[in-house]
Symmetry: C2
Subunit: 143 residues, 2 copies
DNA sequence: AATATTTTATGATAAAAATCATATTTAAGA
DNA sequence: TCTTAAATATGATTTTTATCATAAAATATT
């Protein structure tokens, strides 16, 4: 469904959404343990996310990663699109070149509605939305 | 979503559902081209499928792969479970050890219903069902 | 029985994804 | 301005997945 990398990325971003802001930045060392992802690995992912404007960062002492308001209000799908690419969730499940209603593969007619719903929801829900669910105790994060 | 291997496997099984039976077996050489999968690769997959009783085969001259009635009436999910393993479609989308309603990850509450629907439909639909859709012209196969 | 045709078993190679490692750059604070 | 703490850039290594190759076993046909 999702690659390992994008799972890690989502966990990291949600962690930042809950535990950081412009004044309180989080270092790669401090995020690695609570989200249970190897430090060197999450470091690389965070760098990609910064470059894609999903999260923010500053270097040097007192630096670290954080989410500003613009970051928080992005849809969750942005994370997946950066890490996994847009096609992962939308390309044909049998790898036909063009996935469309006019020439559907045998899985399309039965599964496409559910898949579309998934991507729709990922567009609809913002990072902040998910973070709020965690804060309300309606959802939980690792370990 | 699905591995390359299980996409290939589904295409192959559907091809057999449409083009084979006990009297008319299909050789690995004859299936490779129409489903557009390298011969050595699909050969290996077909062997796994035979071992798992998803499809049937006989060796020697006039031998080949085919689907009997029992094979055809199996749910499509059987193919995926053999090739990709059962967890691929059901394990937590953020890799939490246990994916369940009582302690859902932040993606669970929003996406789990759609995912459950997908696996439910894959249980519900038989290989024959999908083959019929192709034969009726409601779905299409590669190239 | 011999031959030819097919699957089966087994493993080798290549490509991609996941993971690890480190030198460089930036910025804060003494 | 020097030192230190952080991200950034870059690339190496490992593991997994995908792909390719082939000798052995089985069966139909002659
Ligand atoms: S054509 Fe295959 S999923 Fe749409
Ligand atoms: S707990 Fe993550 S998908 Fe169910």
């Amino acid at each position: 469904m999702l690659s390992n990398s994008s799972k890690y990325a989502i966990k990291a971003v949600l962690y930042l959404a809950i535990n950081s802001n412009e004044e309180k930045k989080v270092t790669v060392k401090d995020i690695s343990t609570p989200i249970n992802v190897p430090q060197a690995y999450i470091a690389k992912l965070l760098q990609e996310l910064v470059k894609a404007d999903i999260i923010s960062s500053t270097r040097g002492p007192k630096g670290g990663f954080y989410l500003n308001e613009v970051n928080k209000n992005q849809p969750v799908i942005n994370i997946l699109n950066v890490i996994d690419g847009e096609k992962r969730l939308t390309s044909c499940m049998l790898s036909l070149e063009k996935c469309k209603e006019e020439k559907p593969c045998p899985l399309h007619n039965i599964l496409s509605p559910s898949r579309k719903k998934i991507t729709h929801l990922l567009h609809l829900k913002s990072i902040k939305d998910l973070a709020t669910e965690v804060q309300l105790g309606n959802a939980f994060l690792p370990l």
